[in-house]
Symmetry: C2
Subunit: 367 residues, 2 copies
């Protein structure tokens, strides 16, 4: 079932999920002459505006999944909280890239951390917390370095949701309640110097190509800006990319993989600690659309369609800024900035904390 030849123009890429990542993937596919079929549950699915076809159905609607699988040439996803059962159902019928394992690992923070540790990648101290009674022991272990700890739900967390900081004994019970008393992971809080991410694509032949490493700042738990180049030395950037390549190889990954890392310290000796992966195109790669010849979206579609990977070279320095909720109201002023490229996701409704678009500000065109 695995064609080792690239899917020709006219082939159909099935995308699970109908949000902004699916929308930008769909446009990249269309530029390559590939058609897109979106599968997503009911809701605001802006990707369907730029897709040839869409199936709006629940993740467990096997009749709809069956028809979807029959209608497409390969399946990918833009969203990592798709039920593993859905992914398995599709993988049994059609190529799924990236595969089920990448999805399953990324859905559980314990799995992610254990995978990284098994690959000799440095990770913050962590411990599973499956019940309130396990919290004290976990704190003793994680707190050995004298650091604060952060309690996170193992599953379904994103944009800072499902997280609570524990600074003292008094916080512990409240933290457990705050995250809803579900299976969790307690992690030491890393006093990082900066956060970076790796955006590495892996092709069907196992070759990899990485974009330059962006430096990411968060606000209220949501990505605010990604700046390229990051303030890390070339040696640190190479080490970061090697971490991404190691994980991608272990997962026999096909597509674009994002790995978020903490940087502690400066210069070549800075430490890198694993934070999490996203088995998909990533918000911290949105700058690639305007600063590189090939965007993360095209690179992902190239991999998924079995095409040779593109050249991720960057022609400009750039700062990507998310437009969250009411930020989107600044669009006229952004549209007037000569060095800014505005991207809107076509979402029907703006809500606080909702990603409505982003702007890439070109800082310097590199020679």
């Amino acid at each position: 079932m695995a064609p080792e030849t690239p899917l020709p123009p006219g082939s159909v890429i099935g995308i699970l999920g109908g949000g902004q990542l699916g929308r930008m993937l769909a446009m990249a596919a269309a530029e390559m002459g590939l058609a897109v079929h979106i599968f997503s549950p009911p809701g605001d699915n802006p990707a369907t505006d730029v897709a040839r076809s869409a199936t709006i159905a629940a993740w467990d609607d096997t009749a709809a999944l069956e028809a979807f699988a029959a209608a497409v040439d390969v399946v990918t996803y833009e969203f990592e909280n798709i039920p593993v059962a859905t992914a398995e159902f599709l993988a049994a019928r059609k190529l799924l890239r990236p595969g089920v394992r990448a999805l399953a690992v990324a859905q559980d923070r314990m799995n992610e951390k254990e995978l990284a540790r098994s690959l000799d990648i440095d990770v913050p101290l962590f411990a599973a917390v499956d019940a309130a009674s396990e919290l004290a022991g976990a704190r003793t272990f994680v707190g050995l370095g004298g650091r604060h700890a952060i309690l996170k739900t193992r599953r379904l967390g994103y944009d800072g949701k499902g997280q609570a900081v524990i600074r003292s004994d008094d916080d512990a019970a409240a933290a457990w309640r705050a995250i809803g008393g579900v299976p969790a992971i307690l992690e030491e809080m890393i006093p990082f110097t900066r956060e970076i991410s790796v955006l590495v694509a892996r092709g069907i032949d196992g070759s990899t190509r990485a974009f330059d490493v962006p430096e990411n700042r968060h606000r209220h738990g949501i990505l605010d800006t990604s700046t390229v180049p990051a303030s890390v030395t070339p040696g640190v950037a190479r080490r970061a990319i090697a971490i991404g390549e190691t994980i991608a190889a272990e997962l026999d990954y096909v597509g674009l993989l994002a790995v978020e890392l903490f940087v502690v310290g400066d210069g070549d000796d800075a430490a890198l600690l694993f934070n999490e992966i996203a088995p998909r195109v990533h918000n911290s790669g949105h700058w690639t659309t305007d600063a590189c010849l090939v965007s993360q979206f095209e690179q992902h579609i190239r991999a998924v369609a079995g095409w040779p990977l593109g050249d991720p070279r960057r022609h400009s320095d750039v700062v990507m800024t998310n437009l969250i909720g009411a930020d989107a109201e600044t669009w006229v002023s952004v549209a007037n900035e000569p060095d800014a490229r505005l991207h809107f996701y076509g979402k029907a409704e703006s809500r606080p904390g909702r990603k409505m678009g982003h702007v890439n500000r070109i800082r310097r065109m590199a020679g």
Copy 2:
């Protein structure tokens, strides 16, 4: 009916025509958060793959046009051979940008040439030929310079269709038959040094922004390559752009206007002669997608939506090559070129002479 404020994200752009230009316009609009509704007669309409809505109906289907006008916020076109009556019908109901006059002028080679001449723009010698009996007189006039002449249908010509060269008396009757004996224009054949085009956008406030001037080569009457920068001096490029601005102002144009020009001679003294206009995005501007911050497609949508025009600055030297008919079969090798960006139009069927896609080869990233 003319809002002088920009249409906000979520607004709907109506596009007349469903071909590759509509497709690339639709994607540019989607990046800006604008929805697209395509109106096109039945056939291969690849733009509908990336549009939120589509009406497939004849140009004279007034019920369909009425509903289309009601469903969109502004109307533009990607194809200049839309019946003027259709454009007038829509312009009476909704903003049409560019307007009816630009369309009417561009549809008739006599109108184009007369417009240019009325604006003191140099044009080749030309004469109307409405009947076979007028051909001899026209040849006497046009042939004054001792040059060969070219007979072209006044209307509906494109990609070298509807044209016949007259080198001697023996050719004249055959040329008249070859173009189908319809109202025509006889033009002196200009022994040009090169061909260039102007890609100038004009906003609702009358401001203009031009892209760098490409140099165009044709093969079998169809555009083959556009190379930027063109081999003309900055002074010649400025004179060319001024011609585009003059025509755009005269037409009270809103959107991207293409003007094709002949260059005769070299250096600052080179002569520029008007060839024709296209009241839309243009094949010779396809390189802007990969070599500029803002593409011709986004620039057109910005103008049509009443947004401020974007910065047409170019970051790279580039050669655009059309993939015509069987050229498209080279896609795997093009996908392997590190400096090439491949664009396919999603057309269902390849035919000789049919534009299937194009490739932008980045030659040097400019500083």
